[in-house]
Symmetry: C2
Subunit: 401 residues, 2 copies
């Protein structure tokens, strides 16, 4: 088994897996200017799978993609930032459909093979004239080196592009996998205002691809939180075009490496999202054990990870473990104060409900780090869970005002 999990660096990482071309342009949709439309195209057509927001209010492109994915094959993905095309009624659905039709016409593929994603302000209609002009420019700019332009064009309040690429060999043939995503705000369980795209030149049967994407999302994007708000547009898509000539499926050679590569890519992208959370300056892992069940561990971890008082304290930086205990106490998980122990990295802040040996100053030094882990033992059972979160700074408020 080869170079599994090895990420490409520098020039190499700009290259898309075989058979993919992409572009990103400025179409004038984002008020702040800059690239705001992206196009990813694959020839041959790819096996496609997707997972979407659990919000009951779904943006028009989400509804369209669910419909288009029934076919299981896709040739292109069109993305715009700056406008979410959510809460836009029938007009929104018509606009999403027209975007797919226009891209299909320009690329010579059936519109149902075009997937559409939008992210940005809710409740504003897509400026279709700009979208159509943007599509023309995108088709003209398509290139195997278009990855960086895509990762830039899909951003909203993100401060940096998020991309991760891995490659590995199966019987001397190279398989590539590249992931792009955008995140920033409205990041909570079951995805977020986030878009993620996975492109691979492996050939993977549809059911296995769908299961893999779901499993990867559960381990990565569904375990992060920035502000507890879940969006209307969350979408993760995977396209597997088989251009490498390598057929991968569960139980066959190379599948374990592919699965590991996919999980690595999803987890790295998820970490980038939290690290680049709106106004965030710290990446914090909340690890709960000793809950009555995994589900209760998850509830406890999320209660802490989403507590505004905890997140602002850590911006201080101030460990303020009292707020952690408080958030555990109001979670839906069973918590018995006298059983709770808490560590900040290796320092014992709370031992069975009472202040531990770590001094305030020592704890403050841990919380001052750009990354730290809060380990919580509820002392009641064997349930475990882990959630990634960030601190909450004044900058978060400024961004969202």
């Amino acid at each position: 088994m080869p170079a599994r999990g090895k990420s490409w660096m520098g020039e190499e990482s700009a290259r898309l897996p075989q058979g993919f071309r992409a572009a990103g342009v400025a179409a004038g949709i984002k008020r702040t200017g800059g690239r705001d439309m992206a196009l990813i195209v694959t020839a041959p057509p790819a096996t496609a799978a997707g997972v979407f927001t659990t919000n009951q209010v779904r943006a028009a492109p989400v509804k369209l993609d669910i419909e288009h994915l029934r076919g299981g094959v896709a040739s292109a993905i069109v993305v715009n930032s700056g406008c979410a095309n959510a809460c836009t009624g029938l007009r929104g659905l018509r606009d999403a459909r027209r975007t797919a039709e226009c891209a299909g016409r320009l690329l010579g593929v059936a519109p149902r093979r075009v997937l559409v994603c939008s992210t940005g302000t809710i409740g504003v209609p897509l400026p279709m004239d700009r979208v159509e002009a943007g599509l023309l420019a995108l088709v003209a700019a398509l290139s195997p080196d278009g990855g960086p332009a895509v990762s830039e064009a899909i951003l909203t309040t993100d401060t940096r592009p998020k991309r991760w690429s891995v490659a590995f060999r199966v019987r001397d043939r190279l398989v590539r996998l590249t992931g792009f995503c955008k995140g920033a705000g409205m990041i909570e369980p079951n995805m977020a205002t986030m878009l993620a795209f996975f492109l691979t030149d492996a050939d993977v049967p549809r059911p296995a691809l769908q299961r893999l994407l779901k499993a990867a999302a559960d381990r990565s994007f569904n375990r992060i939180t920035v502000d507890g708000d879940r969006s209307t547009n969350d979408t993760a898509l995977v396209l597997a075009n088989g251009a490498s000539g390598v057929m991968l499926a569960p139980g066959r050679p190379g599948w374990a490496a592919f699965e590991a590569a996919f999980f690595e890519t999803a987890c790295e992208l998820a970490r980038m999202i939290v690290r680049d959370g709106e106004g965030a300056t710290k990446l914090i892992t909340i690890r709960v054990r000793g809950a009555r069940s995994d589900r209760e561990a998850d509830l406890a971890a999320r209660s802490v990870a989403n507590s505004l008082l905890v997140k602002t304290a850590w911006a201080g930086p101030n460990a303020n473990w009292g707020r952690v205990v408080d958030a555990l106490g109001y979670s839906s998980a069973r918590v018995v104060e006298e059983r709770v122990s808490i560590w900040f990295d290796d320092l014992r802040a709370v031992v069975r409900g009472a202040p531990g040996p770590a001094t305030r100053e020592a704890l403050q030094r841990v919380v001052g780090r750009p990354e730290f882990t809060v380990d919580i033992d509820l002392g009641l059972g064997r349930g475990r869970a882990e959630v990634l979160t960030c601190n909450c700074t004044e900058e978060y408020v400024r961004i969202n005002m």
Copy 2:
């Protein structure tokens, strides 16, 4: 039926109901200085009732008060701000007990007739030497005009004292009711880091008093949110000492006026808490109707009222009704996008899932007001609920860092 709901103004409002004396002093517990201990004393002893935080982690004084209230009679309340005496283990409980004992000794009453409340930082032990010195100073300063000093001494990050007084006549006898409270942060359903004290010179049987306090809390303190965090110390207490010579009970003359006065006092105090939420500059009423049940209406209203993205948008001021729809969509209430209508005061922002006639600018003017109401019709049933919330500003983050 007389002057029901009429609040006293100016000099008058400083006066406590008959038989009560109070004081507030600086005992050196609060790091920021100023008054941080209060004492309320009643002779004759009062019928007493209380409601407490639903957090599974309860501060030591909460545990003590639940024990002391079993007797149903109280002579005094001791309050300190600056230290919550929460997550302080056995030592915390010992300290709370010692506070009651010390106050009882100084006042010549049984310690079990003394109630103790703390608010402030979690996880730090009470400085008992200062508490005991403070008690000495408090007893020396007791006065029927001590109300303002109490309302000041119980504050933490509040910017102003919160007090409301009403009086009414029953058969030519005057009955008085005064409420004090503190709020600021960690304000969520089922109380908050809030303390509230109701004092009346009416004579009210214990069961009626307990039911009235619970009903009033459900209509007031349990319908407000500042940041979605629930505290370990929330306490509302009522003392009814009968010094007015007026006996009040359900079904008897004057009860309706008393009930109305109690609800008014609780609701006014709750509004003051939200209006003075940490960093808050606006008071917003979220009113949901058309939910499948009252419970779902409540879930939907709280989802909006607690959405950090909604609250920061309103700090803008920016109506951003898309974020409201988004928060409804991820609430646990059933929401069908095409049925949702939203008003900001009298402006129609969303009509059955699509943008309404109100312009962005007009909506912005509403959200610019210091108070406004967001009416949400889910169009699915007859469930209703109302929650008060505030905007979230950079100041909130600064305060809690």
